[in-house]
Symmetry: C2
Subunit: 335 residues, 2 copies
């Protein structure tokens, strides 16, 4: 920077002004500085800037696991949104371990980032108070913690599940499985989506049948597969499945096909998340698009606002994205 100033024949302050797009610089001077920068291949030292300004231009995104397509796509959306705002993103994987989620939140690595986007999988409502201790700006993604002390961006889970269920009902299905429930959970994606499922049944005058509510080990393909296997073994008849995420739906599809059932003729199935893969399976999977891009953009915007005004006293905000029902082959009987 000194060299640039020398070459351009100005002071180091002027160089700083040019870089930061300050006003009141003669165009001619500015050009001279720009030329010098180009000639010397200079680029500012971000650590120094960070030290001085207290900001690093980096945010961290805490997610359970990148190998889960849902989170990979979420990370992609967040990175695109962050880039528009000239922010870099450090991704930290919690592995869905409680200790790791906690240590990442309070960890020393955070000293290097301006804010955190936190997609909780393990911490729940009862841990909301722990978030109070986090001193750097944070925005929460997903459903695990409501009414926390931070901004929260998520989708309309209940309405989405209701729309998915109504879609199957409209297709003439009456014995509809809810795949991925967690008994006793009221908040959290599982609880909210189950509530939407119930609402749709009730509105259509279909009795709720507990035998069709299928719990799983985890929201993975394997969980969906096991769930449907158990269901088939139970002998309880069904003609539709609302899976609470796409991975489970895909696992379920595989088991149904192995069992010789046709999709959607024998069983119609709809998922949740609209991960890329659902466009290429056989059959393609109908699903609820949660508005991922919108979630990412709003979350980044909220975080930037909190970073800009850490002590604004603005109460925690809650943003619910628009979802969209995506109709594909798994729910539409050809002809």
């Amino acid at each position: 920077m000194h060299e640039v100033a020398a070459l351009a024949g100005v002071s180091i302050k002027t160089v700083s002004n040019v870089i930061n797009d300050y006003s009141h610089i003669r165009p001619e001077t500015r050009q001279r500085v720009l030329d010098a920068i180009a000639k010397l291949g200079y680029s500012p030292n971000l650590s120094a800037r960070g030290l001085r300004s207290g900001k690093t231009g980096v945010i961290s995104l805490i997610i359970p696991d990148l190998r889960n397509p849902y989170f990979a796509e979420l990370a992609d959306a967040v990175m695109r949104a962050a880039e528009k705002q000239k922010l870099s993103v450090i991704i930290e994987q919690s592995g869905a371990e409680r200790d790791r989620e906690l240590s990442l939140l309070s960890g020393a690595r955070n000293r290097m980032v301006d804010g955190i986007l936190y997609s909780a999988l393990v911490l729940g409502e009862e841990d909301a108070h722990l978030l109070e201790a986090i001193e750097i700006p944070m925005v929460l993604l997903g459903e695990r913690i409501f009414h926390g002390p931070t901004d929260h961006v998520t989708m309309r889970n209940t309405e989405g599940a209701r729309a998915a269920t109504e879609h199957l009902i409209a297709a003439g299905r009456t014995r509809i499985v809810a795949l991925g429930a967690h008994r006793g959970e009221v908040i959290g994606s599982a609880g909210l989506r189950l509530e939407g499922y119930r609402q749709a049944l009730e509105a259509a005058g279909i009795d709720y049948n507990d035998a069709l509510v299928c719990e799983v080990g985890g929201w993975f393909r394997s969980g969906g597969a096991e769930g449907v296997r158990a269901l088939l073994a139970s002998g309880e008849p069904f003609d539709g499945i609302v899976a609470f995420n796409d991975s489970m739906a895909l696992g379920a599809m595989r088991v149904l096909q192995e069992a010789g059932l046709r999709i959607p003729d024998d069983v119609a199935i709809i998922g949740f998340d609209d991960i890329d893969e659902t466009r290429y399976t056989l059959p393609t999977l109908s699903t609820i698009n949660p508005g991922r891009d919108e979630i990412a953009e709003i979350a980044v915007q909220y975080l930037i606002e909190r970073i800009a005004q850490p002590e604004s006293g603005m109460p925690p905000r809650e943003y619910l994205s628009r979802f969209e029902l995506v109709e594909r082959e798994s729910t539409v009987v050809a002809g």
Copy 2:
């Protein structure tokens, strides 16, 4: 830090020593400092440390697109390897655009990272000289650029493809499709894998049939699907497919099944990459596991070594990981 020093009744230097695990500190003093740190909830400012030491403890990983499962899994492996070494990872997506790959490599964001792991998709051999201009340590992943000025970590592409092809031959297939070739490409994954395919055919005394070498638009599901559709339309008979990555294999499987062909009975198929999904499709997909964890660990280790000794004059290294053939349902006829 000053406060910590005051509370512990020592100088700020001693605090620094404790934090950095220096020797020659009386255990009692160290403990006093540690207590003070805990009480004040102090944690060091990484920006300041970075400014002073010239290192940030952050590396960047440049990949085309996280939504591609192969790269999501690579990113996961890299992050796990980096974490073991106490490094954070900033992920940058190039979107497979040439301009973006170049600007990311030389971009200002790099001032904040100690080194780059670069998985090229667009830049090729002819751009190797551009890498010379990058002044920060870099390790290359993947096949696009060989003989560049940097360390390079990748898999044994030719041997892997040969093993895959031999696996189909051993299963009695003789009319084997190579799916995902790029005509005229010699280096790059496509060229290397095609070479392995040819070697296997030759070793088995099977004539190379150009009509079975199938080019595709891109290494995505859609590319694999289109390729197989064209092949079916051509009327050229085939009983096996070596797909140069798993995504194409999955797209191909879908088209085969739509066409009423049984896998593996009518057509056996094997992919490349061992992405998670291949364990859950119907049928499950045989594939070549490229040794992703090994690649990630070696790449991070190489990068750390280069960061430690930027001007060591050590010549560029090349590391080839061990691969493994994973046998699943798509190549094994039951019974």
